[in-house]
């Protein structure tokens, strides 16, 4: 059984004044599933709807349409109590660990609060035991952590600590929205290695949202590439990231700067000017920038085609 299933999820925002309202389809009929003990990456353009998707999964936003199923049970319409119960199973890790913790509050107090609020332990001793276990999983010593304020940790340590906190309730799924974008290359590896270990040792699944495609390749089992609200390509990480099929994925993959000064970019890329133009496009939203655009692309929305175990939303594969 799939751990999480997202079916035909859409989210529409209306922006602008009362006179000129623009409809933004931030998430447009998105479907994917996450299996047990799987790292699933959601990558794509800035503003393509990744965070919105994550927020809906976590119940922080309501979908306009579509369904979410967790272990076979529909969970996008839960009441308050059931939602709280679900959030033990699905935990979030955010981009900036410094904004996760109040600078004037000791970091360990969050851990005790979470443990007692969720009823995970009834005595301080038992709570300490749980904390020690979770800190060990992220490679932080309890003595190093006790009685300290957020400013006494480095960004990487604090990010590990926020992951340890997310692990307190023994979740099956971590939703990590750009957990490494603020940290240097070396710490990045320590955090993605941690995801790998959590998956391998404890069977935890991770929804990894990132712009960093090399770490996505390194840790994930499957990858979905989003563009303007749609998943345009989805499949095994190995295939999607080493032989991308959709022209947008190809452009994305080509734009990853290689850490090799001998392989500098030569050609120039074209970017969209104004945020909303591509949302309003009929047909394929990438048609305006696609080097392989055909007539049909400008008129009809491409369906998914199965190519070599990968689903691609592009007429080239008709």
């Amino acid at each position: 059984m799939n751990l999480l299933e997202v079916r035909n999820l859409s989210k529409i925002y209306h922006i602008g004044s009362i006179f000129s309202r623009i409809k933004i389809v931030a998430v447009d009929k998105v479907s994917f599933e996450i299996k047990e003990a799987e790292i699933f990456t959601l990558a794509g353009e800035s503003g393509c709807g990744k965070t919105t998707t994550a927020k809906i999964i976590l119940g922080f936003e309501e979908p306009t349409s579509g369904e979410i199923h967790y272990r076979g049970r529909r969970v996008d319409n839960l009441n308050h109590k059931d939602r709280r119960e679900l959030l033990r199973q699905i935990q979030a890790v955010f981009q900036n660990p410094f904004s996760t913790f109040n600078p004037l509050r000791k970091v360990d107090s969050y851990f005790y609060d979470t443990i007692f609020n969720l009823g995970l332990a009834d005595t301080r001793e038992k709570a300490v035991e749980i904390i020690k276990e979770k800190l060990a999983a992220v490679g932080i010593a309890f003595e190093e952590f006790s009685e300290k304020y957020p400013s006494e940790f480095s960004g990487g340590q604090l990010q590990r600590i926020s992951i340890a906190r997310a692990l307190l309730s023994n979740p099956s799924l971590l939703v990590a929205d750009e957990p490494v974008s603020m940290v240097d290359a070396s710490l990045r590896m320590s955090i993605v290695n941690l995801f790998k270990d959590l998956k391998e040792k404890y069977g935890v699944s991770v929804l990894y949202i990132t712009h960093d495609l090399t770490t996505a390749y390194y840790v994930s089992d499957r990858v979905a590439i989003m563009f303007r609200g749609n998943i345009v390509e989805i499949g095994p990480a190995e295939k999607v990231l080493t032989s991308p099929k959709h022209p947008y994925t190809q452009l994305l993959r080509d734009s990853v700067p290689e850490a090799d000064p001998k392989k500098r970019w030569k050609e120039v890329v074209k970017l969209a000017d104004v945020e909303h133009e591509e949302y309003l496009r009929q047909g394929c939203k990438f048609a305006g920038r696609c080097p392989k655009v055909m007539d049909v692309c400008k008129k009809e929305v491409p369906p998914y085609f199965d190519v070599d175990g990968v689903k691609v939303m592009c007429f080239l594969y008709r």
């Binding site: 990558a43 794509g44 353009e45 800035s46 503003g47 393509c48 006494e152 480095s154 960004g155 990487g156 340590q157 974008s181 603020m182 940290v183 240097d184 290359a185 070396s186 710490l187 990045r188 590896m189 320590s190 290695n193 790998k196 712009h211 495609l213 090399t214 770490t215 390749y217 390194y218 990231l241 080493t242 452009l251 994305l252 734009s255 990853v256 700067p257 290689e258 850490a259 090799d260 000064p261 001998k262 392989k263 500098r264 970019w265 120039v268 890329v269 970017l271 969209a272 000017d273 104004v274 945020e275 909303h276």
Partner: protein
């Protein structure tokens, strides 16, 4: 020719927490020279002092940040100025005209309630006196055109632009007065790689057209490989290595730089990669000797006692490490 130089620069955060003084040595004894017509990259661990160094270079620091020692020199029209010995009034004349700054998280630099053209007008007006409104708009228009950005953005509000366009507009604003030096702090961190490429492309075009200097801080070693001419690696407030870009990638000498370069994952290679062991030290309580020694697999006795000095080992490759100094590496 040099345009900006630091001499033994020390910039600390001096905090008073419930009567207890806490000193964070974010920039400590930094000696760097930035040349004309150069993209100079700076990389290093999160929190090691990169942004602090940039703020000190721009000479617009606010408490609790202080300049505790050393100098920042600007070279303008054949003359050098010791910036922190000048009055605030004199310093202000250099800002944006000689040196400009795109701060970290600068998506918010543009005023959200003004159209882009009015942000430009206000900005130029506050630095260039005696122009009519029409002339000011014209300067903005010409600059946007020169950078190859679409003119219609001038009539847009910031929220109507995509993140990547907003960032390019911020860069356009920071360069409208043709500064000799442009400081950019993580200008592409929140962006996808295609958009990042567009922003980097713009920076490079500006640099090539006016042969000025860009000082670029980013965590992304791929970006450095792509556009930086020279790179400095910072660790715990100090420059620990500096060399030409090819040299840093082909022949990293400092153990921290080696970890940094070798931990980078690559497509087509899933083999486990390890990052540097342990955690970075607190800048308020640095270990004695080399600040990297508690994490360094090669550390020996001297590393624990003496602070290594940054020394040139040929090919303009400077390293601060006893292992290299003693030829044990």
């Amino acid at each position: 020719m040099e345009v900006v130089k630091t001499e033994s620069l020390k910039s600390y955060y001096i905090l008073d927490i419930y009567g207890k003084k806490r000193v964070i040595k974010a920039v400590d004894e930094v000696d760097l020279t930035f040349e004309e017509n150069q993209i100079y990259g700076i990389a290093g661990e999160s929190g090691c002092g990169k942004s602090t160094l940039l703020k000190a270079l721009f000479a617009a620091i606010e408490p609790p940040q202080r300049i505790v020692g050393g100098k920042v020199l600007y070279y303008v029209d054949g003359k050098s100025y010791d910036v922190y010995s000048l009055s605030e009034e004199e310093r202000r004349k250099f800002r944006w005209n000689f040196i400009s700054y795109v701060p970290q998280g600068s998506m918010s630099v543009l005023n959200p309630v003004l159209k882009i053209k009015d942000s430009f007008k206000d900005f130029i007006e506050s630095h260039v006196k005696g122009k009519t409104k029409k002339e000011l708009y014209e300067i903005a228009k010409q600059h946007i055109e020169k950078l190859g950005l679409p003119l219609k953005i001038l009539n847009a509000y910031p929220h109507q632009l995509s993140g990547g366009m907003r960032q390019r507009v911020t860069i356009a604003l920071a360069t409208v007065l043709s500064p000799k030096v442009i400081i950019a702090d993580e200008p592409t961190t929140a962006l996808d790689v295609v958009t990042q490429r567009g922003v980097i492309q713009l920076l490079k075009e500006i640099q090539q057209a006016s042969k000025n200097t860009i000082i670029l801080v980013t965590h992304d070693m791929g970006v450095h490989a792509n556009i930086s001419d020279k790179i400095a690696i910072m660790y715990a407030g100090k420059i620990i290595e500096e060399a030409k870009t090819e040299e840093i990638f082909d022949n990293p000498m400092h153990p921290y730089t080696k970890y940094l370069i070798h931990s980078l994952p690559k497509f087509g290679d899933k083999e486990r990669r390890e990052s540097a062991p342990g955690s970075p030290p607190s800048l308020a309580d640095l270990p004695p000797g080399c600040a990297f020694h508690p994490r360094c697999p090669y550390a020996f006795d001297r590393c624990k006692r003496e602070v290594p000095v940054l020394k040139d080992y040929g090919r303009a490759h400077r390293v601060a490490c006893w292992l290299v100094e003693e030829g044990r590496g």
